[in-house]
Amino acid sequence: MFLTVLFFLSATLTIASGIMVVVVRNLMHSCMALLGCFIGVAGLYVTLGANFIAAVQFMVYVGGVIILMLFAIMLTGNKPEEKVGSFLLPAMGNRRTLTWGLITALVFFLSVGKILLGMFGIGLGKKTAPTDPSLFESTVDEIGTLLLTDHVLAFEMSSVLLLGALIGAAIIARPETSKEK
């Protein structure tokens, strides 16, 4: 009961604010809608019993990505009319982008459709029943064990990737003093 209510609240929040992100023309408001979308997704993880992933979602996306986006928005707009919105953006569609967009939308629609149809028992796949959320228990121990045993290579690779990104950012941000000397 409680989980059902939580699911519908989070799903509504996710979808509604996801639409808002695209529809709203003010970049700042769009960013706020994205914040709502991320919180909704965190709620969805909670209904699945994946507390750890929900907290990571909060930590990384709400605490990191949104703040980075806000900084990026603040640092870009220099004309007064562009400062709070994307009013002066030229129309983005030409034939190439539209074709690729259409293909992407089609693939996305088909894959989502397969899952949704499977849920209602129509179509190709066999009926996938919604799993009982109370089956899931704490996932923290398992995530920790798996990360450091089976998936340790991927774990270390991602840390190398992040280190590379960090060093790259430091090099880009460093003022160029060596050329003047």
Partner: protein, 386 residues
């Protein structure tokens, strides 16, 4: 949700009776609905009756202690020793006109104080006030707390951006950069403690310590001793407290990100700040100072034991709270470059060193504390030497 609540409540007759009658009326099983409602009422009572006064009394304590430190008297008109001053302030805040600046982004302007409040009050859900009085026994307790409190950073930034004022914007920018920078040493220091106790739930973290100082994580080994100070300095900066209160530096920025806020919206920011300080002190007490553990485990299974535990918890937390205020009125504000130097050149490397040190300590000494190592070797020498 709260796993312990339904079994606890089903021990009472009135609860089962109510479930039966409402289930018959609504024609579905209302167990979880009812326990959710009871839980929600309890949580809001806790927020309103405990945390609001803590935030309010925080402002009173701040003024009174600052007055003591500066050899003044401080508020002394409303109630005995001026202790009702915060109620008078609250009434004044409600009566003030709610002004929105002309150039403001209204939606974001309204959103920012709410985000600050929500972010801070969500952290309260996992605070271990006593072994029985923890609202949610979450398996990721301290991680949840750190994750949720990142909403405050966004709120500070938006509070700076929305009013379209230069003072606010500078304050908000400083606040956001400061909060995301100091999150790193704080999280790494917490990680060292998580490593020692082997769990992120506050039950495990507090439960693996003891009542007396030699069993606290603060004195577990030299690295945790350092980690405590790294955490505390980082927490001061995260809550925008002096000497790290650059986001609201009065002499430069009027009052930073809440310059343009009036009335209750300003009160939301102020309340969020004071409750956040309380929460950060409570986390420090729970992680390093033994939390709610009472010395000698007095009355452990007796209901009165809960009161003793509450007493132990609040004593430690409020002493730390006093230290925070004391630091504010003692040290001058640091500069922006010093702020970043302290975080990136000192605290972060020290915190990483602590983390590695704790891991090595766990590996070499099998997780024993320094006190038990010394004590055991002393006993061994005394008994085996002669």
């Amino acid at each position: 949700m709260n796993g312990g609540l339904i079994p606890y409540l089903s021990g009472f007759d009135w609860f089962n009776q109510t479930i039966k009658s409402t289930s018959a009326f609504l024609s579905f099983d209302t167990t979880s609905l009812l326990s959710f409602l009871i839980y929600a009422v309890f949580a809001s009572l806790l927020v309103f009756l405990v945390l609001m006064p803590i935030g309010g009394l925080g402002t009173y304590a701040e003024r009174k202690i600052s007055a003591d430190l500066q050899a003044r008297i401080g508020p002394n008109r409303v109630g005995p020793y001026g202790i009702l001053q915060f109620l008078a302030d609250g009434i004044k805040m409600v009566l003030k006109e709610d002004i929105v600046p002309v150039g403001a982004d209204r939606f974001v302007f309204y959103l920012a104080p709410l985000l600050a409040m929500v972010g801070v009050f969500m952290t309260v859900a996992v605070l271990p006030l006593s072994s029985g009085l923890t609202m949610v026994h979450l398996d990721i307790g301290v991680f949840y707390l750190l994750a949720v409190s990142s909403l405050v950073g966004i709120a500070v930034f938006l509070g700076g951006y929305a009013p379209n004022s230069k003072w606010s914007l500078l304050g908000g920018m400083r606040g956001a950069s400061q909060i995301i920078s100091y999150e790193i040493p704080v999280v790494i220091s917490v990680l060292a403690i998580v490593l020692l106790s082997g769990g992120m739930s506050f039950d495990v973290l507090v439960g693996s310590q003891g009542g007396l100082p030699h069993r606290w994580f603060l004195f577990h080994n030299p690295f945790t001793f350092l980690a405590f100070f790294v955490y505390f300095v980082g927490a001061l900066a995260e809550a925008n407290r002096a000497p790290f209160d650059l986001p609201e530096a009065e002499s430069e920025l009027v009052s930073g990100y809440h310059t343009e806020y009036t009335g209750m919206r300003f009160a939301f920011f102020a309340l969020a700040e004071y409750v956040e300080v309380f929460v950060l002190c409570a986390v420090a007490a729970a992680l390093f100072l033994g939390g709610y553990n009472v010395p000698g485990e007095l009355l452990k299974d007796h209901p009165l034991g809960q009161l003793l535990q509450l007493g132990a918890f609040f004593t430690k937390t409020l002493i730390l709270y006093y230290v925070v205020i004391w630091v504010r009125w003692t040290l001058p504000r640091i500069r922006v470059d010093q702020l970043m130097t302290i975080c990136w050149k000192y605290l972060t490397p020290i915190a990483l060193f602590n983390l590695v040190g704790c891991a090595l300590w766990m590996y070499c000494f099998d997780g024993k504390s320094i006190v038990s190592l010394l004590f055991e070797s002393g006993v061994g020498a005394a008994s085996g030497g002669h």
